[in-house]
């Protein structure tokens, strides 16, 4: 068995993938854990038509919030929250900011250097 702090058994009252109609998001491009989710103006207008977790995502994402934060705050597995976010994006209710790409060749190298310099300055200024 595994230790208490890395795993947990049970505790939920709804089967996690019931929230997504059994869909696991397999085949969809994976949304990064740190990608930021933000409600769009359309999402604000549509917000009353969403229920349960989707409505909570809309409420929390009025401030840009990462996928992993939404999963933690809703207490649903990451895979479930990814499917819900992908649905909301398809409806135009949320926009997603992906993290900058990792590869650093050619033009990407300058962008990566610029990003790292800003991060460094940001951490030093804390």
């Amino acid at each position: 068995m595994t230790s208490e702090s890395d795993t947990r058994v049970g505790g939920r009252i709804v089967r996690p993938y019931a929230m997504t109609g059994g869909r696991t998001g397999a085949g969809l491009p994976v949304i990064a854990l740190e990608a930021l989710v933000a409600v769009t103006p359309d999402g604000m207008r549509m917000r009353h038509q969403f229920r349960w977790e989707a409505a909570e995502i809309i409420a929390m994402a009025r401030r840009e919030t990462a996928v992993i934060e939404l999963a933690a705050m809703l207490d649903v597995p990451i895979g479930v929250v990814r499917v819900l976010i992908a649905d909301l994006r398809e409806k135009g209710a949320v926009a997603i900011t992906d993290p900058p790409p990792e590869s650093a060749s050619g033009a990407g190298e300058m962008a990566r250097i610029d990003l790292l310099e800003k991060v460094l300055d940001g951490i030093k200024s804390l």
């Binding site: 740190e34 103006p41 992993i68 933690a72 993290p99 790292l116 030093k124 200024s125």
Partner: protein
């Protein structure tokens, strides 16, 4: 009502991974600098080889929940930095690839009383080409090993930063993060970064 998000500057998310053996102080490290209490997020796995959150219709696979702790730091320049603690146990190492993807770097946290527990993390980041720094957690009060001993034990390249830190102390953690990002920057500038 709040103004719509579209008329504000969008934030850019970046992440750093904090790895190391079970119980070495990863969540403490994250919590020392995070602007939020470290949060815990979970993924459902069916078995270690099948990847994260796959679901099997036949119901014969055992489901396990694996937890990751993370924190958030808002930075200047419209950046938001996420710090991810890796799941500590060996059987969750397959998740590290997802955590490391896109990361600007990694911290390998070391407890010198159990130095071998960080070997897997160092192997992983070396192989993957993720820039990393080694942070020796001194929160038990004693420097049992000098830097040379640590370097010898880990067999790492001389340019990889090795620092001592108390994972509970914000300025120590800040110093480690600065070292990782500086190292990352040097790597990109010298054209040695992961593709």
């Amino acid at each position: 009502m709040e103004s719509s998000l579209s008329d504000r500057p969008r934030l850019t998310p970046v992440k750093l991974v904090v790895a190391g053996g079970f119980g070495v102080g990863k969540t403490t490290f994250v919590g020392a600098i995070s602007e939020i209490e470290p949060l815990r997020s979970e993924a459902i796995i069916t078995d270690a080889s099948s990847g994260v959150d796959e679901l099997f219709a036949d119901g014969t696979k055992t489901e396990t929940t694996v937890a990751m702790d993370f924190g958030r730091i808002s930075l200047k320049h419209h950046l938001v930095l996420y710090l991810f603690g890796t799941p500590g146990q060996d059987r969750f190492h397959f998740m590290w690839d997802e955590l490391a993807r896109g990361a600007i770097g990694a911290v390998v946290l070391v407890d010198t009383r159990r130095i071998d527990e960080c070997f897997a993390a160092i192997d992983f980041f070396e192989k993957r080409g993720t820039p990393f720094a080694v942070a020796v957690n001194t929160f038990h009060g004693r420097k049992l090993h000098g830097e040379e001993e640590v370097r010898h034990s880990l067999q790492i390249d001389p340019e990889i930063p090795v620092l001592y830190c108390d994972a509970r102390v914000r300025v120590d953690v800040q110093r480690v993060l600065v070292a990782v990002v500086e190292h990352s920057l040097i790597r990109v500038m010298s054209g040695a970064a992961a593709g």
